[in-house]
């Protein structure tokens, strides 16, 4: 069965082709939504079969079907498939969220008219290449799909390209992630230079990896992680993600929350056998993750655009995953356990569900209210019962309240980071950042929920519950967000399952029963610290935004006021990039432009001018007088004769 996994991306791709080329009449319902749902559902069914196979113990790592794509000398570049536990988790995420988002779009995009065909075609292309990305078995193939998801992201952010802000946000997302992509490419090239192959099966072999010089390994892994920084919106390349909210909300839910931004985390997790060779890179990964988690969460505290809150929250949660991966590497190296790795992957899955849910809920709210600004909302809870309840489930999940999914994975992440502190003190600092983020996460999520659903309406609108086609995916995702954390307890435990994909790195595998895991989680005092902080955050949000009469202006004064201004300006990072682009890059461009215009073009134009002028002079020889030509022929013939008869014998040739 696994060797047919390559069919998974084919179904959405066929749907993409059909939607793109079929005549409009045959697209029928919603300009192609039917084809889109069909393609996504077919891929979902196949994915489920593959996941089932993986769960029953069979994987396909390096022995799958391959086809030769490119042969250069002795090196042949192949395309193949790589199915292991990590792939299975990604398949769960992409297939479930992808299908639900496409169904949801059926109602959400109803008002877009002709543009729906473009939307469905692009979204099917995205789903297809995302599947391709997660089943790739070498870095080059992965990189190709990596770029293609970036392309789809660009196209879909710029869906409303007539709006200048959407067009520029699309360009920004494309350019900023491209910085990371270049780093990824450089990392891949370094690996190729030293190993001579890009197949995972060769690279992940510990002996070949050890043949790479240590400093080059550090450089290569840091560069590969650089790709993840761009794609997963980690500090300092995170500012494109909030801007990416210019796209339709469904796109934000699918691409910029659940799947594409996870590609960076997936890449880091996939490169684990390489990262393990370079503990310095692991530390770098962890620090970037921790800083991102804290920084993004702090900006989310003051954002007033409902989608931007969720965008910063996404960045922050991606930071958690990266942090867990960095810390997890130390655990694999020194403690021989995959705790951090499994925590990151579990959080990846849980986050995909609850963040997709939150985005789709936000979409439902925006659909009803017609604005993104939370200051103009309020009191929607009574009118939009399903949306408010499902969003509450999502908020509780992300805030880390048991038994919702976020609690389990976030707790595992923090426990792994704390555990890694035994091997390097800096992880304690990162743990503090993580735990501070827990508080902030709970606060900003419930600030959002209360501002949207509680109290009285703050502007004039006639909200109503969204159609069933939209609430149905919400309910499914809410159910998943509530229970997906229990994956921790299925059969031998999620940790045992996911350790299968880094099996070569660990010396012994750990069987843990559900009671063992529960005992560890609830026997640890740190669990209660994060729980208390999360509850505190929710309470504070309740006091500030739900109970009337709280004077929020106290925060606008003094140091906290200044902090608030800094937060509202996104820590000036965005401004820094704008200034940087305007001053430095623009002036360099001006110089380059002048050089091109006057030096390069000058030389080229000069030659053209020279040719023209000399042609003007030389053409005077063509008089049109036949007798002159004949005279010249005779003179030439005479000269030739003189040359042949006298000069040549005289010279002795």
């Amino acid at each position: 069965m696994l060797e047919y996994a390559w069919l998974i991306p084919v179904f959405p791709f066929v749907a993409f082709i059909l939607i793109a080329i079929l005549p409009k009449r045959t697209l029928s319902w919603e300009d192609g939504a039917g084809y889109a749902i069909g393609g996504a559902a077919a891929a979902l069914i196949l994915s489920v079969l593959v996941i089932w196979e993986v769960m029953s113990g069979s994987t396909m790592v390096g022995d799958g079907p391959k086809f030769e794509w490119l042969v250069i000398g002795d090196i042949s570049i192949t395309f193949g498939i790589w199915i292991d536990q990590l792939t299975a988790v990604m398949l769960v995420v992409v297939s479930v969220v992808g299908t639900l988002v496409v169904i949801y779009s059926g109602a959400y995009m109803h008002g877009e008219g002709e543009n729906r065909r473009r939307y469905y075609a692009e979204i099917m292309l995205f789903i297809s290449v995302m599947y391709g990305l997660v089943i790739s078995d070498n870095f080059l193939q992965m990189f190709i799909f990596w770029e293609l998801v970036g392309l789809c992201s660009y196209l879909l952010i710029g869906f409303w390209y007539e709006t200048p802000s959407a067009a520029s946000a699309a360009k920004r997302a494309f350019i900023v992630t491209r910085v990371g992509d270049i780093m990824l490419m450089a990392g891949i090239i370094i690996l190729f230079k030293y190993v001579g192959s890009l197949d995972f099966v060769t690279l992940f072999d510990q002996d070949t990896a050890a043949a790479v010089p240590t400093d080059m390994m550090v450089l290569a892994t840091v560069l590969i992680f650089g790709g993840a920084i761009g794609k997963s919106a980690q500090f300092p390349l995170h500012e494109w993600l909030p801007d990416a909210m210019e796209g339709p909300t469904t796109v934000s839910a699918l691409i910029h929350a659940a799947t594409m931004v996870k590609a960076g985390v997936y890449l880091t997790a996939r490169s684990y056998p390489l990262l393990i060779q370079a503990p310095e890179s692991l530390l770098f990964v962890a620090v970037i993750g921790g800083v991102t988690a804290l920084l993004a969460a702090s900006v989310a505290l003051v954002a007033t655009d409902i989608k931007r809150v969720l965008a910063y929250s996404t960045i922050s949660q991606l930071g958690y995953m990266t942090l867990a991966l960095g810390a997890g590497g130390y655990l694999v190296l020194y403690a021989d356990t995959g705790g951090g790795y499994s925590a990151a992957i579990l959080h990846l899955m849980n986050h995909a569900f609850f963040k997709a849910l939150l985005f789709l809920c936000a979409g439902s709210v925006i659909h009803a209210v017609g604005t993104n600004n939370m200051r103009l909302m309020g009191g929607l809870g009574k009118k939009m019962r399903i949306t408010s309840i499902t969003m509450l489930v999502g908020s509780l999940a992300i805030a880390g309240i048991p038994p919702f999914s976020g609690f389990w994975s976030k707790d595992e992440v923090l426990a792994a980071v704390y555990h890694a502190g035994e091997f390097d003190g800096i992880f304690f600092l990162l743990w503090f950042m993580g735990i501070a983020t827990v508080f902030m996460t709970a606060f900003y999520m419930f600030r959002m929920w209360f501002m949207t659903f509680a109290g009285e309406p703050r502007s004039d609108y006639h909200a109503h519950e969204s159609p069933k086609l939209m609430t149905f995916p919400l309910m499914i995702l809410a159910a998943l967000a509530a229970v997906s954390g229990f994956a921790l307890f299925i059969s031998d435990g999620f940790k045992y399952f996911i350790e299968g994909s880094i099996g070569g790195l660990l010396h012994e595998v750990h069987h843990e029963s559900a009671t063992d895991i529960l005992g560890v989680i609830f026997g640890d005092p740190l669990t209660y610290v994060s729980l208390v902080l999360a509850a505190g955050g929710i309470l504070l949000a309740y006091k500030m935004y739900c109970v009337p009469g709280f004077d929020r202006s106290v925060f606008a004064r003094g140091i906290s006021g200044r902090l608030q201004v800094a937060l509202e300006n996104r820590w000036y990072i965005s401004k820094f990039y704008d200034d940087f682009a305007l001053r430095v890059v623009y002036s360099i461009s001006l110089v380059a432009d002048a050089f091109d215009r006057y030096v390069i073009d000058g030389i080229v134009n000069g030659f053209a001018y020279l040719g023209g002028r000399s042609g003007n002079v030389i053409r005077m020889a063509q008089t049109g007088n036949v007798q002159r030509y004949a005279g010249l022929i005779v003179i030439g013939l005479c000269l030739l004769l003189i040359f042949m008869l006298y000069i040549v014998p005289w010279g002795g040739w």
């Binding site: 049109g624 007088n625 007798q627």
Partner: protein
């Protein structure tokens, strides 16, 4: 037999007369006639070398004479084409002076 050098000098002179006419005469018909003279000087050469073949190599070789006949036939055809061209040139420009017909230039 007349020595071979005489023939060579004779045909060269004939050729030079023709070439001079081609280069200097303004009337296109005279130019055409001069071209004929040049052709015939070549024909004289062909016939002359053919008849000297026996003297120089001991065997007869009539191919030079055959070529001379070819050349005469081709010259006839050429004159027909040339005169036809001149006729149309005359119809178009009302002149056949070669230095007036110089539109094929810059």
């Amino acid at each position: 037999m007349i020595p071979i050098e005489y023939w060579l000098v004779f045909s060269s002179l004939l050729f030079c007369v023709g070439a001079y006419g081609v280069l200097t005469k303004r009337n296109a018909i005279v130019v055409l006639m001069c071209i004929e003279i040049m052709l015939n000087s070549a024909n004289i050469n062909l016939v002359m070398f053919s008849s000297y073949h026996n003297v120089l190599h001991g065997t007869a070789d009539p191919s030079g004479q055959a070529f001379a006949l070819f050349s005469i036939a081709i010259a006839a055809a050429e004159v027909a084409v040339g005169l036809a061209i001149l006729l149309s040139v005359y119809r178009r420009y009302k002149t056949i002076e070669v230095d007036k017909i110089n539109i094929l230039r810059w």
